[in-house]
């Protein structure tokens, strides 16, 4: 850019303020913007492909028999995954009952009552737990529950999933509680509330939205886990009747049916995948609705 004016000051005001497409600055900016968008597309691509493929292959199987029929054996035609859906719900239900109360209460302790020194170590331990490979968690549940009760069971599977869910629930609840501003706690204390009342009636309700989101994430993660269920809940072909027996689950069904050479079972596996994805989606939507409507 050339300017032939006398002073620096008037040189700047003489030049036009409009976009100048030829400058290096504008070009680099444009290139980087395009690059960022391309990266975004590449990042979303796997999600889109997976979802799209599952919907196409699995959606074509959808009919009433899918949900009500018995799990088909090799070479059997038709059948459904009804038992596996119920099984997944039961096992994830057990896991939720085991992990969510403990996770939230532990988070309450961490953010409201503990001293600085302990907090660091507990948070560190939680992070380590969340990184433990899921198959090892399954082994642990095997050693603790299956060996001692002498059988594979839904409870063992729920126990393993609970260990996987616990760190997620704890961490998100902890962060949600820390986000509640300190002034609100002081206000409650100033009105003459005990610690217990402040936490239960002011702090927790205020953090509930974020806590529910966290638990939904945990539930979604748990419902898709396969490795921990392999030698805890095992598998069965029948409608679940007893939580102390092996139980079918959607994730194990997909594992078993995806690689066998029987086409019917492969199709069922695709359908089961889609159902799993939909289950997670419905859980998320329900929990969002629940928090929007809540008035305490």
């Amino acid at each position: 850019m050339t300017s032939t004016s006398q002073t620096r000051h008037s040189a700047n005001t003489d030049e036009s303020m409009e976009f100048s497409y030829g400058t290096r600055r504008t070009l680099i900016g444009a290139v980087l913007t395009v690059l960022a968008f391309i990266m975004l597309a590449i990042a979303i691509l796997p999600l889109g492909l997976v979802l799209g493929y599952v919907i196409i292959r699995g959606g074509s199987q959808f009919n009433l028999e899918l949900f009500t029929g018995q799990i088909p054996v090799a070479l059997q035609e038709g059948g459904g995954v009804g038992p596996a859906i119920v099984g997944t719900l039961i096992v994830v239900g057990i896991a939720s009952v085991l992990s969510i109360p403990f996770g939230i209460l532990a988070a309450v302790y961490l953010s409201e009552f503990s001293s600085d020194r302990i907090v660091k170590w507990i948070r560190f331990a939680t992070n380590i737990l969340s990184g433990v490979p899921s198959i090892i968690v399954g082994l642990f549940a095997y050693g603790v529950i299956v060996v001692n009760t002498n059988q594979f069971s839904a409870v063992a599977g729920g126990f393993a999933l609970a260990i996987l869910m616990l760190p997620i629930v704890l961490r998100t609840a902890d962060e949600a509680l820390q986000l509640v501003p300190q002034e609100v706690r002081w206000a409650s204390t100033g009105v003459g509330a005990s610690n217990f009342q402040t936490v239960l009636q002011v702090v927790l309700p205020s953090a509930m939205g974020a806590i529910v989101t966290g638990t939904t994430l945990a539930i979604a993660r748990a419902s898709g886990e396969t490795a921990p269920l392999i030698f805890t809940a095992l598998f069965s072909k029948f409608w679940p009747t007893n939580i102390w027996e092996p139980i079918p689950t959607l994730s194990i069904l997909v594992y078993k049916f995806a690689t066998v050479p029987y086409e019917n079972q492969q199709e069922i596996a695709w359908a089961a995948s889609l159902i799993l994805v939909l289950l997670v989606l419905i859980t998320s939507i329900l929990s969002r609705l629940a928090t929007i409507k809540s008035i305490y």
């Binding site: 002081w186 206000a187 100033g190 009105v191 003459g192 509330a193 009342q197 002011v202 309700p205 205020s206």
Partner: protein, 276 residues
Amino acid sequence: MSTQNQSKNHQNTQKPSETTTVLQTEKLSVYYSDTLALRDVYMEIPKQQVTALIGPSGCGKSTLLRCFNRLNDLIDKCRVEGKVLYRDKNLYSPKIDPVEVRRRIGMVFQKPNPFPKSIYENIAYGARIQNRKENMDELVERSLQRSGLWGEVKDKLKESGLSLSGGQQQRLCIARAIALKPEVVLMDEPCSSLDPISTGRVEELIKELKEEYTIIIVTHNMQQASRVSDFTAFFNAEESDKGNRFGYLVEYDETGRIFGNPQAQATKEYLSGKFG
């Protein structure tokens, strides 16, 4: 009845006579992690009057205020020495339950902090946790009337307290504080985050409230102190040998006398704007 300070730096705190005392401090000192913050305060707070605590930043006014309702307990590493007597009972004796103290001595904070609940619940919460059996609707209406907010919110009691403007939020907090009729109301710079018109309303409110409640107000605003209070205590900050600043009580008297005829040099300088 007032006890003497030994140091010749500090003016004696003459208790203004003919009024009963509701709160009294004896050699009250506050430390944050072993660093002195407030030194040896002797004060008597008269009943059903407005007492203002004024002074430059860092002189311990808010710290002193929080001693009266044991809110300093919530601050890690804060240590209180000396006595705070409320109706002749030392609030810091180990037998005293701080929760009970706070039900008799309420507080309004500098930044309005309504609960993230509905306006109705903001006021009803205090009554609920204390198991009061009274009619909630009446209690809420009475408190909102008293704090001058009823007309503006009577049609939207179910809306969130956070949806109000700053001045309205602060009046909601005042309504919340007086709902359960505490004997003393502590106010920590209640108008500092409000615009002048809301400030005026709150000051009017304070003057009305003193017919029923004893009010102790911390304020940075000298004019406010002279408008609103009956008694004024001036605090100042000093550097100790260890290099940290701590606060101490310089002078305490009727507002008219403090502003019209201050005795201590520091008071004169502060009031004439030489520092602050």
